[in-house]
Symmetry: C2
Subunit: 625 residues, 2 copies
C-alpha cells in the first residue's frame, strides 16, 4: 500500500508534521496495523519530530516508539493503536462521527476534515466490520474513506480459502459508495480518492495490490506477511527500485521532496488558527479539545439525593446523574446498543445523532456492542466529545476487545453496563453476569465502578469523567435503598472504598461489599450485632481507585492483621475470583461461582444464599472455628 | 413467527418427540432466543415429554425448564442455548458443518439432515453474523436455512434508527440463496422453505412479519418485545383468534392435530434405525455420537517425550500431541482463525474441509475468531465430532462470548490459544495477553491449561478431551526446556498441580508457576538453594483441575499453614489477579500488572523482572522481613 499511502499523503491528507495535534487535521488510521512500518516511514519522511531514523532502526525493539503495531501513546502522528483487526476501521467511524458532530456545532470554519483508513482483508472479515460498516452507512458518514488493500493473501494462504464474498457488493448493500483502482498506481489511487471525496456516502476504495510488491522474489506470497524480507531480498528490492544497496538511506532528492510534501498544509493550518482567533470561540473550543469535563454538577446533585434518599435501581440513578451531567456540559455523546430503555442512557432533551441531524447527542448504535465500543474509542481519541454507551454487563464480553483497547490507549470512554447480576432475574444465565466484574477488574487501566445507591452512582460518574482512560459503571436492574444518608465533602467513591458503617460494639468482622450487596451487608451487620458481634461495613465501589490510595488511607479502611482476629467477609453477587486479596485466605468470600438461573430476583438471591438469614450464621460459624 | 414455525414443524422439520436425540434429526435453532416461549409451545404441542403444561405455567420461574431463554441443558428438544444474539445462527453454521462432514464419512443412509434457524434483526446486526454468513457461504452449506423474522422493530424502536442495510443483498454478496415471503402465511412460508431446500446454497428466507401479530392493540410496536402482554391483551388476542378466553387451554382438535404432526417422522426414524442396524457401522457410529475420545495415544506419546526431552514451544508440543490424537481418532476437526502456521493446529495428512471436500478435517475459518468459536460450539452440540481451533490468546477476547456459551452449554470444544504472554515478543502490547489467563479462569466450567513443556502439553490435551465442557490450552510461542524427565503413571496435569521439584534442604518457600515460568521457577529454586533456602516448585497447569482434587491431595501439594513459616510465591508472566488464593496475602505474586511492550522476549522478561536474578533476591528479602 506504499503507493496508495503516497498518493494520500502527498495529494489529499490534511496534516502538518509541525503540529500533530492540529484539531482540524484529517485523521489517518492504519487499521491493518501489522503494516506499522508504513506509518513510521511516512511520519519520518514528511518531517515529524518522531520517529527518528534511529527509532526506525530499532523497529520493534524495547523502548523504540516504532513498536510492532502503531501506538498512539508512542507517536503523536499515530491517531490510534491498531493491530487487533477490524478495530482501526471501527475507530475511524467514531472519528468521523465526532467530526460531523463538532462540525454541526462549530461550523466549517473550525471543523472540516476527513478520516482515511487503510484496511486489510482481516479488518474486513472480522465481525466488527459489519457493525462499523452498518453504523457508517446508516449515519451516511461521507467524510470516511476506507482504502482496502485487496491483495488476496492472508496468513493461511489465498483469501479464497476462507472467503467467497463480493466485498464491494456488501458495502454497497450497506449504503456505501464504492470505487476500484490499481492500488500500485498512485495516480489511479488519487483519482479514486477524488471520487470518494465527491460522494456524500462513506466510501470503500478497492485497491488491487500485490503483497510485498517490489520484493522481486517474494512478492505475491504470504511469506512477506509476517516475516522480515531478509538481507538478500532487501538488496534485491532496492536494486529493483534503482536505489543504492545500503539500508536506511534515502536519496537526497527523495528526502527533500517528501519534506516539502510535509509542508503542503502549513498555510491551511495558519489560516485555521487565524479563523479560530477571530471566531470568538477559541477558549471554549480548545478547552473542549483538551477534554476536562466540569464537575460542579456533583455537589448539588448529591445534596439533593441525600435529602431525598431515593430507592431506585442504580441504572435509574445513573440516568439521574446523566440528567445533571448532560445539562452541565454539551460534550457528552450518549448511546446504547439497542437497550436504551433498559440502560437508562437517554436523558431529557437529548436529540438523536442521525444522518439528518449531526448536532444530536444520542446514538442508536443498533445491536452492535463491539462496534459501539470501538466507535466510542474513536470519538474519544478524536477529541472534543466524551462518549458513553450502554449495554447489559453480560454483553461486555461482546465489546471486550474494545474495552481493552480503550484501556491500552487511555481513551476516556464510559461503558454503562446495566443488569449487573442475578438481580436482573428472569432472563436467566445467558443474561446474568457472574464472572464479568472479575474479568473486567483484571484489565489494566480500566476503572470498574459498582455503586451501591444513587449517591455512589453520581460519585462514580464524577470519578469516571476524571479518569484518563475507560471506566465501567456496573449498575443494577433492581431497586436499591439509599445507603448514604450524609453529605460528604469528599467523593467517597473516588476513594474506591470507605467505611460506610462502623461496628457498634467490639469489631469482630469487616464486611466488604459492592453495589446491590451493600444493603445486604448492612442487614447482615445488624443481625450480627444482635448476637453481640460487631461488624464494620465497607462499601467498595471501585477496586482500582482503592488501590490508588496511599497506604494510610487503605489501612484506615482495611486495617492490617493485628493480634486481634478480625474476620473479613466479601459479599458480591458474582464470582468470588480475586476477592482473596481483601478477605485474606482465612476470610469468607460469599458470591456465586457458577452460572445463574431464571427466576425472580428475590428467589435467586435466596437460592444462592445471599440473604441476611443465610449469611449471618456462616459468619458466626467462621468466628467460632 | 408462530406461523412460520408452524409451517416448519408441520411440513418440513424432521424430528420425533419420542426420541429427541435421534442422530439424523433436523436441527432447529431459535437464534432469537428471547422468543423462547415459541419453542416451549412447539415442544409441548408436538408431544415431547418436557416441557409439561405446568412447566410452561412456570415460565421464567426458578426450577422451571422453561427458562427465560432456551437452554439445551434443560430441555432435550432444545439444540443449543440462545439469547446472546447472533450466536444461535452461528452455532447453526457449526451444526451444518458437522452434518456435511459426517455425511461425507457415513453417506446419505445415516446422515442426511438440515439445520433450520429462526433469527431476528439483532442476530443479523451483530458482527458475528458477518462471520457466520461468510463461513457458511464459503463452505456452500446448502443444508442451512435461516428464517429471518423481518419485523422492523428493535428495542430502541424502528430498525431504521440504526440500519439502512439491504440485508438480502448482503447475503447474496456472500454467496447465499435468498427468498422472501409473507411470514404470517404458513403456506407461503412453506413454499419459500421448499425453494430453500432445492437450492444448493445456504438460504436466507426473509419472512415479513408484524411483531406481536394477533395481539390486536399492541402488535407492530416494540411494547410486545420484552414485556408480557398483560391479562387484557391476552384475552383480546384469544378472542381475535376465536379461542375461549381461559389461559393455557388448547382446544382438543388443535391438540390432537399437533400431536399427530409430532408423529409425522416416526416411520422415517424407524427406517433410519433399521439402516443403522444393517450398516455394519452401528457401534462405531453410536460411540462417535456419544463422543468419548480414545486416550490410548497418551502413554506411548509421553514415554517418547520423556526419552527425548525436546526443547520446543508448547504450541509445537501441541502440534506433536495433535499428530498422535488425530491419528488415533477420526473424530477431531481442527482449524484456525487464519493463524494456522502460528497456532500449529494443522497436522500431517489432514485435508481441508471445503465446499468441494466435506470429508476434510481442517477448517480455514478466516479472520473470524468469534465465528469460529460459535461454529465449534455448534459442531460439538451436533455431536459426532470434536472441534478444536486456534488463535492468539490475546484474541480470546474476540471469541469470548462463544467461550462463555460453550461453558454454559457444556460443549466439548478445545480452544488452542497460542502466544500466551509477553514471550511472543515484538508484536507488542496489542498482541500480548496480560489479563487473559485471569479472565478466562473466572469463567465457570471452563478448564484453562497452561502447560510447561511437551509432556504437560500432551497431558493437558488428554485432560481437555475428557472434560464435558470447553477447555483452553494457553501455549507459548517461545521454546521451553523439558521440565518433566520421568514418566508418571498418573496424568499429573489432569491433577491440576503437582510438586515438580522437592526442596533440597529445609523448605522455606513454595514456588508456584505455570507454563513458560515453570523453568524460571526451577532456576530460581536452584539459586535459592545456593543461598541455603529450600524451595519446592509446584507446576500448576490447571487451576480448575486442582480445585477438583480432594483436600488431601491439595494439601499434599500446598500444605496448610502451620507453625513453620513457608513463603508462597506465584510466578506467571501475566496479571497477578486471583493468585492471592494460592500465595496467601503474605506471599509474593510475581507477574505483570500492566500492558506489555514491543521487544525481544528475552529483553521483555528482563524488563519486567521475570528472571532468576531479579526474583531470587525478592524472595530472600521477603523471607527476612
Amino acid at each position: 500500500m506504499a503507493d496508495a499511502a503516497t498518493a494520500l499523503f502527498t495529494r489529499h491528507l490534511k496534516y502538518d508534521p509541525a503540529d500533530p495535534k492540529w484539531p482540524d487535521r484529517d485523521r489517518f488510521v492504519l487499521s491493518a496495523g501489522h503494516g506499522s512500518m508504513l506509518v513510521y516511514a511516512l511520519l519520518y519522511l514528511t518531517g515529524y519530530e518522531k520517529p527518528t531514523l534511529d527509532d526506525i532502526k530499532n523497529f520493534r525493539q524495547l523502548h523504540s516508539p516504532c513498536a510492532g503495531h502503531p501506538e498512539n501513546f508512542e507517536l503523536p502522528g499515530v491517531e490510534c493503536t491498531t493491530g487487533p483487526l477490524g478495530q482501526g476501521l471501527a475507530m475511524g467511524v467514531g472519528m468521523a462521527i465526532a467530526e460531523r458532530h463538532l462540525n454541526a456545532v462549530y461550523g466549517d470554519d473550525l471543523v472540516d476534515h476527513r478520516t482515511f483508513v487503510i484496511a486489510g482483508d482481516g479488518c474486513l472479515m472480522e465481525g466488527i466490520n459489519h457493525e462499523a460498516v452498518g453504523i457508517a452507512g446508516n449515519l451516511r458518514l461521507g467524510r470516511l474513506i476506507v482504502l482496502w488493500d485487496d491483495n488476496k493473501i492472508t496468513i493461511d494462504g489465498s483469501t479464497d480459502l476462507s472467503r467467497n464474498e463480493d466485498v464491494v457488493a456488501r458495502h454497497a448493500a450497506c449504503g456505501w459508495h464504492t470505487v476500484e483502482c490499481d492500488g500500485m498506481d498512485a495516480g489511479k489511487v488519487a483519482q479514486a480518492i477524488e471520487k470518494a471525496i465527491a460522494d456524500p456516502r462513506p466510501s470503500l476504495i478497492r485497491c488491487k495490490t500485490i503483497i510485498g510488491y517490489g520484493a522481486p522474489n517474494k512478492q505475491g506470497t504470504h511469506s512477506v506477511h509476517g516475516a522480515a524480507l531478509g538481507k538478500d531480498e532487501v538488496e534485491a528490492a532496492r536494486k529493483e527500485l534503482g536505489l543504492e544497496p545500503k539500508e536506511f538511506t534515502v536519496p537526497d532528492d527523495v528526502r527533500k521532496a517528501w519534506l516539502a510534501e510535509g509542508q503542503r498544509c502549513a498555510t491551511d493550518r495558519a489560516e485555521w488558527y487565524r479563523r479560530l482567533e477571530s471566531s470568538g470561540k477559541k477558549d471554549e473550543f480548545l478547552a473542549r479539545v483538551q477534554g476536562n469535563v466540569p464537575s460542579d454538577w456533583l455537589k448539588p446533585h448529591v445534596d439533593a439525593l441525600v435529602a431525598n434518599a431515593p430507592k431506585v435501581a442504580t441504572r435509574k440513578a445513573s440516568e439521574m446523574a446523566l440528567e445533571a451531567i448532560n445539562a452541565a456540559t454539551p460534550w457528552t455523546i450518549g448511546g446504547s446498543a439497542d437497550l436504551t430503555p433498559s440502560n437508562n442512557t437517554l436523558t431529557k432533551g437529548l436529540q438523536s445523532l442521525t444522518a439528518e441531524n449531526y448536532s444530536g447527542r444520542y446514538l442508536h448504535y443498533g445491536i452492535r456492542e463491539f462496534g459501539m465500543g470501538a466507535a466510542m474509542n474513536g470519538m474519544a481519541l478524536h477529541g472534543g466529545v466524551v462518549p458513553y454507551g450502554g449495554t447489559f454487563l453480560v454483553f461486555a464480553d461482546y465489546a471486550r476487545p474494545a474495552v481493552r483497547l480503550a484501556a491500552l490507549q487511555g481513551a476516556r470512554v464510559i461503558f454503562v453496563f446495566t443488569h449487573d447480576s442475578i438481580g436482573l432475574g428472569e432472563d436467566g444465565p445467558t443474561h446474568q453476569p457472574v464472572e464479568h466484574l472479575a474479568s473486567l477488574r483484571s484489565i489494566p487501566n480500566l476503572n470498574v465502578y459498582r455503586p451501591a445507591d444513587a449517591v455512589e452512582t453520581a460519585e462514580s460518574w464524577a470519578s469516571a469523567l476524571e479518569h484518563e482512560g475507560p471506566s465501567v459503571l456496573a449498575l443494577s436492574r433492581q431497586n436499591l435503598r439509599a445507603v448514604r444518608s450524609e453529605a460528604a465533602d469528599d467523593n467517597l467513591s473516588h476513594r474506591g472504598a470507605y467505611v460506610l458503617r462502623k461496628a457498634g460494639g467490639k469489631r469482630k468482622a469487616i464486611l466488604i461489599a459492592t453495589g446491590s450487596e451493600v444493603e445486604l451487608a448492612l442487614d447482615v451487620a445488624e443481625r450480627l450485632e444482635g448476637e453481640g458481634v460487631g461488624a464494620d461495613v465497607v462499601s467498595m465501589p471501585c477496586w482500582e481507585r482503592f488501590e490508588a490510595q496511599d497506604q494510610s488511607y487503605r489501612d484506615s479502611v482495611l486495617p492490617p492483621a493485628g493480634p486481634e482476629q478480625i474476620l473479613r467477609v466479601s459479599i458480591e453477587a458474582g464470582s468470588t475470583f480475586g476477592w482473596d486479596r481483601y478477605t485474606m485466605v482465612n476470610g469468607l468470600r460469599l458470591g456465586i461461582d457458577r452460572f445463574g438461573a431464571s427466576g425472580k430476583a428475590e428467589d435467586l438471591f435466596n437460592y444462592f444464599g445471599l440473604t441476611p438469614e443465610a449469611i449471618a450464621p456462616k459468619i458466626m460459624e467462621a468466628l467460632q472455628s
